[in-house]
Structure formats: C-alpha cells, structure tokens
Symmetry: C5
Subunit: 263 residues, 5 copies
Amino acid sequence: MPCPPGVIVDISTVIGLVIGSALVAIAIVIGDNPGIFLDSKSALIVLGGTLGVTFIKNPLGRVFGTFGVVKNAFFGKVTPIESLIEQIVELSRKARRESLLSLEKVQVEDAFLSKAIRLAVDGMEPAAIKTVLETEVSFLAQRHKIGQDILDGMASSAPAFGMVGTLIGLVQMLASMEDPSTIGPSMAVAILTTLYGALVANLFCQPLAEKLKNRSRDEVNARLVVVQGVLSIVEGDHPASVEQKLAAYLEPKLRKENQAQAA
Amino acid sequence: MPCPPGVIVDISTVIGLVIGSALVAIAIVIGDNPGIFLDSKSALIVLGGTLGVTFIKNPLGRVFGTFGVVKNAFFGKVTPIESLIEQIVELSRKARRESLLSLEKVQVEDAFLSKAIRLAVDGMEPAAIKTVLETEVSFLAQRHKIGQDILDGMASSAPAFGMVGTLIGLVQMLASMEDPSTIGPSMAVAILTTLYGALVANLFCQPLAEKLKNRSRDEVNARLVVVQGVLSIVEGDHPASVEQKLAAYLEPKLRKENQAQAA
Amino acid sequence: MPCPPGVIVDISTVIGLVIGSALVAIAIVIGDNPGIFLDSKSALIVLGGTLGVTFIKNPLGRVFGTFGVVKNAFFGKVTPIESLIEQIVELSRKARRESLLSLEKVQVEDAFLSKAIRLAVDGMEPAAIKTVLETEVSFLAQRHKIGQDILDGMASSAPAFGMVGTLIGLVQMLASMEDPSTIGPSMAVAILTTLYGALVANLFCQPLAEKLKNRSRDEVNARLVVVQGVLSIVEGDHPASVEQKLAAYLEPKLRKENQAQAA
Amino acid sequence: MPCPPGVIVDISTVIGLVIGSALVAIAIVIGDNPGIFLDSKSALIVLGGTLGVTFIKNPLGRVFGTFGVVKNAFFGKVTPIESLIEQIVELSRKARRESLLSLEKVQVEDAFLSKAIRLAVDGMEPAAIKTVLETEVSFLAQRHKIGQDILDGMASSAPAFGMVGTLIGLVQMLASMEDPSTIGPSMAVAILTTLYGALVANLFCQPLAEKLKNRSRDEVNARLVVVQGVLSIVEGDHPASVEQKLAAYLEPKLRKENQAQAA
Amino acid sequence: MPCPPGVIVDISTVIGLVIGSALVAIAIVIGDNPGIFLDSKSALIVLGGTLGVTFIKNPLGRVFGTFGVVKNAFFGKVTPIESLIEQIVELSRKARRESLLSLEKVQVEDAFLSKAIRLAVDGMEPAAIKTVLETEVSFLAQRHKIGQDILDGMASSAPAFGMVGTLIGLVQMLASMEDPSTIGPSMAVAILTTLYGALVANLFCQPLAEKLKNRSRDEVNARLVVVQGVLSIVEGDHPASVEQKLAAYLEPKLRKENQAQAA
C-alpha cells in the first residue's frame, strides 16, 4: 500500500468529492422539485453558525491560516519516500566522490531537501542541522494539527446548527399552523437545515480533517527521511550505509525493488 | 499561523459570537411570529437546570471563580511571544552591559515578566526562581482547566435540560389534548426548550471552553518563555545565546524575521 | 479559586439540587394537570431497572458501601489545605521547642492528621508511617473511584430504562388504538419514563459522580499534605522548611497570605 | 467496601437480573395485551443479527469459549483475599515449624493456591514459580478481557439490529398503508425490535461485561496475593513478614481486623 | 480459548455473514411487498457517498490496497501457534543434530517461517535477521491498521449518508404532499436509505474492521513466535530451551499438552 506521488493523492480527494457531491446532486435532481433544496436561510444558519463558532474558538489568524494549510496539503507536492531515498543516496555518492561543497550546485525539486542541503553546504554543525530541521518538522505537524482540529470542530458544529435551524423552522411552523396545506412545505424547509448540516460535516469537514491527518503523517515521514539522510551525508557515511538506514522507512516490498534499482 | 497580539484574540471571539447570534436572530425575526421564541419557562429550565448541576458538581467558590477566569482569558492581555523574546533579549543586553541590578528600574508591560525580573533583581537563587514561577504557571493552567471543565460540563447539561423541558411540555400537551387547534402552539413551546439547550451548548459553552483551552496553551507557552529567558539572564548567558534558546518557542518563519530584526 | 471549608462544599451541592429540582417542579406544577407526572409504573421501571443493573455489575456489599461513600463525601468535613498547613507548622514548632512526644496531648480536629500524629508519637519509622498513610490514601481514592463508577453506571442505565419504558408504553398504545381520544394520555404516560430516566441521570447520578470526583481530588490532596507534613516533623525539619515544602500544594495567592500570616 | 465471598457475588448478579427482568415483565403484563410483546421475527433479527456479527468478529472457538468464561466468572468461587492471607500465613507458619515439604499433605480449597503450593513443594526455583504463576494470571486476565470484549460488542450490536428490524417493519407498514386501522398494530410490532435490542444490550450484555471486568479485577488481585505469598514462603520469610507484605493488598479497615485476629 | 487453524477462522466469518444476512432477508421476504426493499437510488447514495468519503480521506492506492488486506486476512492461512512451535522445535533439533545449513532443504508450509529460515541459512547476523523480520511484522501490522481504519471510517460514514438520503427523501415528499395516499410509499423509500446505511455499517464494515483487528493480533503474535524461534535456532539454543522460550506465547493449558506431546 505505497503512497503514490503527490499528484495522485489530490486526484483521490477530487474523485471522492466529485463522486459524493454528484450522487447527492443526482438524488436531488431526480425528484420533482429540485429547486426546494436551495434555501439561503438554511445555508446561512449552518455555514454562518459553524464559522461563528470557529471564530469564537480560534484567533482570526489561525482560522485564515487553516485555509492555507488545507490548500497546501491538497495541492502542495509530496515527493514519494522511495524517490527521496534515491535522490539522497545519489547525493551521498556525489558528496563522497567530490566533496560536501559539490552539492551546492545540485538542483533538487523537493523544497525541504533543498533547504537541508543548503544548511549542510553552509557548514552548519550536524547537531544544529538536526535541531533546525526537526523544529521545522514539528511546527509543520503542529500547523497540520491545528488545521485538523479546526476542521474537526466544524464537523461537530455543522450538524448542531443544522438541528438549531430545523428547530427554529419547526417552532415557526407549529406556531402558525392555520392552513394544513402549508405544513408539508414548511416542514421540508425546516428539515433542509439538518440536511445541510449533515452534508457539510460528513461530506466535507470530517473527510478533509481525516485527509489532513493522513497527509500530515506521510509528509512528516518524508521529512524525517530527509533529516536522517542529510545528517548521514554530513557525517560522511558510505552511500550503502545511508541507503540501509533510510530503508527502515520503506515497506519491505518497496525496499527490495529499491535495492534492486540501486544495485 | 502566528498568534496575533491579545487584543485581536478577543476580536475573534467577539466576531464569532456576533455572527452566530445574529444569524440565529435573523432566522427567528424573518418568521411570522418572532415573539413565540421568547419563553421564560423554557429559559428557566435550561439555564436554571444547567446552573443547578454546575453547583452540584463544584464548590460555590470554584463556580464563581470561573467567571473571573473566563473574563481574564478574554479581556486580559497576552503579550505575543515574539515581542516577549525581543524584550527579554534587550533586558539580557542591559544586564550584561550594566548589571543585573540595573533591571530594577526597567518598566515592563507584561505582569508576569515584570514579576520574574523582580525576583531576579532581589537576588533569589535560579533554582528558587524556577520553582516559584513554574508553580505559578502550573496553577494558572489548573485554574484554566477547572474553568474549561465547568464550561464543558455546562455544554453537556444544557441539551439534557433542553430535552427535559421538551418532555415536560409534550406530556402536558398530550395529557390535555382536547382542542386540536392548540396542539401546534403547545408543541412549539415544548420544542423551544430543546432549541435553547442546543444554543446554550453549541453557541456559548462549548466554543468558550475550547477557546479557553487554546488561550491557556498560548498563555502557558508565553510564560514558559519568560521563565526560560529570565533564568538565562540570571545565569549571565550571552544575549545571542538567550535569543537562540528562546527561538525554539517560535515558528521557523517568525524566527527568521526575528533574527533579522535582532541583527 | 480556593476550595472553601468543607461545610460550604455541601451547601453548594444542596443549593444545586434545590435549584434544579425546584425549576423542574415549577415547570410541572404550572401546567394544567400536574398529577399526570406521577406514575408509579414509570418510576418502577427506571429506578428498579437502574438498581437491577447496578446489582448485576457489582457485589451487593459494594453497592451498599457506595451509599456510605456518597454520604461521607457530602457530609464529612474536609479541612481546607491552608488551615492544615497552619496546624502542621504549629505542630512542628511545638515538636522542635519541646519534643516529638509533646504532640501526644495535642487535640487536632482533622481525623487523618490526628492519626498521623499518633503514628509519629508512637515512634514508628518514617518509611513505615509513609507506607501506612499512603496505603490509606490510595484505598480512600479507590473507594471514591468505585462509588463514582457506580454512579456513572447508573447515569448511563437510567436513560436506557427510560427508553425501554417508553417503548413498552408505545407498543401497548399502538396495539390497542381503538379509541383515538385515549392516544394523547397514553402517549403522555409512555413519554414519562423517558423524562424520569433523563432526570435521574442528568440531575442526580451524573452530577453526584462528578462531585465525588472533584471532592475526592481535594480530599486526597489534603491528605497528601498531612503525610508530607508529618514526615517533615518526624525528620525534625525546621518549621520554616516544613512550611516551604507544604506551600507547593497551595495556590500562589493563598501562599502569600499564608506566609504573611506566618510572618 | 470489602468484596464478600464468591457465593454472595453471584447472589448480587442473580438479584439484579431478577429485579430488572421482573420489573420489565410486570410493566408488560399490566397492559391490556401482553401477548403482543412476543414476536419471533423481532427476536430472530435481534438475537440472530447480534450472534452473526459476533461470529464475524471472532473465531468460533473464542465465541463458545466465552460462554465458559462467563459461566466460570459467575459460578466459580473466588476465595476472599482476607481468607487467602490467613491461609497463606498459616502455611508459612507450618513451613517454618516443620519444613516446606510438610505442605504437601495440606488440603487447600482454592485451586490456584493449591497449584502454587504443589510447585513450591516440587522444589521449583522461586523465579520459575513466579513466571509460571504470573503467566497463568495474565492468560486468565486475557481470557476475561476477550469475554468482556465479546459481551461489549454484543451490547453495541443489539440496539443496531433492533433499529434495523424497526426500519424493516416501518418500510413494510408504510409501503402497504391501505387500511389505516392496521397502522397501530404494525407499528407496535416494528417498535418491538427496538425494545428487544435495548433490553438485550442494557439488561444483559452491558451489565455482564461490566461484571466480568469487576470480577476479573478481584480474581486477578486474589491470585497476585497467592503468587506473592507462596514466593515468600519458599524464600523462608518469617510468618509476620509474610503477613505484613500481603496486608498491602487489604483495605486498612480489614487489615486491622486481620492483624487483630492474627495477634 | 485457543485460536483454531486459519481455515476455521474464515468459517466463523462466513457463518456470521450468512446468519446475519439471512435473517435480515427472511424478515424482508416474509412481508407483503419484498420488492420495495430494492431501491437503486438509496443504494447509490449510501454506497457512493461512503466510497466517495473514503477516497477523500485516503490515496487511491491505499483504498484499493485495503481490498487485498481484507481478502488476505480472511482467506490467507494462519498457522496456529502450537503447530508453529512444534515445527520450530523440530527444526532446532535438526539444526543441532546436523547443522544450520541442513535446514536449507526443509519444506515449511508457513511462508514467514520459510523466509526466516532462508535468512538464517544464508548466514545473516542474528541482529540483522531480527531487524529484517521485525520490520516486516511492523509493516504488516501497519497495513492491517490502515485497512481497519478505512473499514471503521466506512462504518461511520454509511449511517451518515443513510440519514442524508432519508432527509432528501423526506424533503421531496413534504414539498409535494398533494396526494395523501402517496405519503406512505414515499416515506418508505426515504427510510430505506437509513436501513441501507445501518446494514452496511453494522453488518459489514464494523464487524470486518473488528475481525481484522483480532486477526491482525493473532497473525502478529504468530510471527513474533517465528522471529523468537529462528533467532534461538541461529544462536544454537538447546531444543528444550527453544521450546521453553516459545511456550510463553501459549496458554497454560495448551502449553501442557504441548509439553506432553513434545516429551
């Protein structure tokens, strides 16, 4: 179950969002009266209430920052671990053959690996490199955690405000129940808010929070490979030894292919 | 996702409370009969029941103390960590250039930093300073935790009493169901209690508990920076070393800006 | 948020129970037909079912023991920590001035402190005193935990049996629905069981379990102060040192007042 | 809150089951039409579905093994800890006065104690005795844990299948709603499944799982006393020292009585 | 409660699935109108929505990989621990009598044991064998964990989409409630989605997730026996010592039989 390259990760999310939304849309459009499913008051209560609660819980900066984290997590690229290991082993060969400084001109696509190499080339102490990189990884994980907490919080507030909207609608309907023929449509509108809340929570917030968690784990893992790898290079380990150390981050199956390719 | 200065933190809470309450109010006022949404009996059961349970669970002093904790947490100022670090580094420069005693006349806005400096100037041992300050931090965290537990408890009691009120209303309505035309309004009133319970829990208690948790984490972090910083000053660390130690509490991005400013 | 003396703790519980029960009672009495809210069958199912399940889960002795634990926890006295510290410091002064044996005739109100002093006066080894007292504290905490578990279990069983009773009532009503005019009252009675279950759980069992948890924490803390204090006395610590050690159990604010009084 | 001897433990469970079942039965029989509460289809869905899910989750052997664990836990005897300690102290006296081998002919009722003595008499090393007995205790705890997990799983599946049955009944009723007079009885039958699910979960599975947990804790504790005691005997401890060591497993109150008796 | 050989494990799952599905099918077929229970729109919303959410949460590769993990877990063979121990003890006898290399030609059914022996015969260092095998075990556990998380996620999404479908159906029904005679069938169809969601979650996803967890524990245990056993062989332990070490993984009862057989 290897994690495929970043682009495919996003494809999975997009496919999931499309399937889920499309099926709900189809179920609605098939019915007689699809227009009734659009109700701005219901949308305002659910979305506004959820957003309001999110602002109460978190400083403004953190809420807006979450949009960035979510966007980054879905559109930012994650270099797959097996490709990172290959590149690092290649770099360790070059560093051994020529010198650590020769890595200065190497072009690396992965931004974090590139930064790690720069620190190494700049002659920073291994301990200092470790501290700098690991702090960055831990703050990345923390930012992801905050984003995840905010999405999880929205996933639990949305159904609550869905229920609030439905209760308001029910009270209004029951209080002025003169014409029985209006009961149906009024109740339909009242129930809509619950539906909106359920969709916002179960189709968007909760799955995205879970995605962020999975993605964060993959990204943190990939960065730990970089930290370990660059430290090995700086300490002048033999390329074979570098590869062996990093292989611990790979699944057994991938590991063998990797060793075969490296051989 | 830096935490902006204290004032903005409060703005976020106020904005959230306003958005959430306004949307609910609008949804109610748009309807035919907004007056029906005010019902003192429902309010009494939900608020009184929730308060009663809170008193059962906690000593009076702790319940009233919570109001103070909540008020403090929302209106008290939190000096941002980057500003604290700047001030502490400045103080360490002054202590080095002149002497530790020279800090006596320095005016510092942050109350906790000011207290920590006073202890240092009074010639207290570093170990004793650490104990005194850390105990204070741990009691602050404990007070916040108690406040959070009380708010969380209210968030779980309010919907329960909302349901109790609705059940009472339903039983009364069903027991005397002679005139069918009164069923609607009676049921509307019965449902109101559930609505009140949902709003008290989801719009006020639960978000404020969460806010207190987030705020407590930021405040404890800021105080730990002060403890670490003042200890470094007392031990005569070089300002650059003080700055480096404290930088571990900062996000990488902020750290660089900070270092640039300090350079 | 200091914990006020034991008597006030109980006042808080009594106030809470009175407020909660009174509001529910008022809501019921205001209605047309308060008599309908009393139904022995509903009470039997909820109370009997909850008690039955409690007996299934726990040995008889433990269930009856819980009444004692609950009673003790609400009516037993807790000496406030600041008063305990004062007394212990006073005792340590006396022991220094005269001798450890001179404590034999001292009258101490707190039962646990009194017992601890007796052990010290009897010449028991400090390590043995520590073991004896700490085992007693841990068994106290365990008894409280068992009581809390039983109350929590009742809080989760009561609504379940409330639902069982309502389902039984609904089935009976639906099965013999010949005369539509009886539907209302039958359903009212059926719903009553759910109301009883909600009240038993949310107004009594759950809050009392929480209270027991809070109270247990305070009581265990107070006893740990006694253990620490008496050990300090036996080891002949200076009264000032005894006071300093115990101050760690006090909030910073109280600590200063305390030191001021002691000065 | 001492745990009374094994037989009384079972009495508590029996009393609880009788009270709970009797009250539900009375509530049903009091009604007009008790026969309607028996419905084989509803029973099949709830019991069959719950059993089916239990088989999916666990190997057959483990499910059937659980019946044995449950039976053992309710009808097997647990020797109370205070009696075990008395017997062990008695044995340690005999072993000191005569010899370890003299224990060979002693008749002990508790099976685990008897086995432990046999190992000791056979001249096994203390370390080996400890390993053998502790492994047995840990496998006992594991068997109890598996039984508890299975009962807990049933407690969560039963209401789910109750709801499934009710939904099936509702769909059937709504689909063929020609004669309004049949709605009541059909709905009554549909609701029955939910009632069955609630009873199976809340009156049987969940309480028995909890009982097994409590019982397991008592039984493991009793066996640890035996392990500790027999090791003390093998190592030739003085009976007073054996008693003192084991007293740590007793509540302070019982301990004093015990020491009084032993004196 | 020994875990019987792999084949029987699967029989248990198959029996459970058959019992559960059959009972639900019977309850449906007994009714007047079984055809109404098939509704493609409801199936699309529940299955499609659940699948969509699963894709949002996880990379495509991982979702498809789960099918393999699930299939493997149900149809792959697990050699029972007692048989593994017997084989390993036999191998250790052979290795002692002849040589480690003599194991090369031995045919072993269990794939993991076979691989472990190959590593040993190849002359790998014990530490390296341990690392290689333990990494493989930990990745197996991780794959199982991912599969279990995906199934658990589906078990919580399915009822949510069941509710979404029912809400959509209710809104459509209420919005066009001209002909009262269509209310019944429309509502029946609306409720169907909830039924589908409940079945997918409670009869399939949740039990299979639990099964995977139980199975994973057994499989990991069996592999740890192999790791421990092959290391003992490589280090030249006496067969009796090998057997004693591995017996710690067996229940006391089985252990004795095993020793009896081995004797």
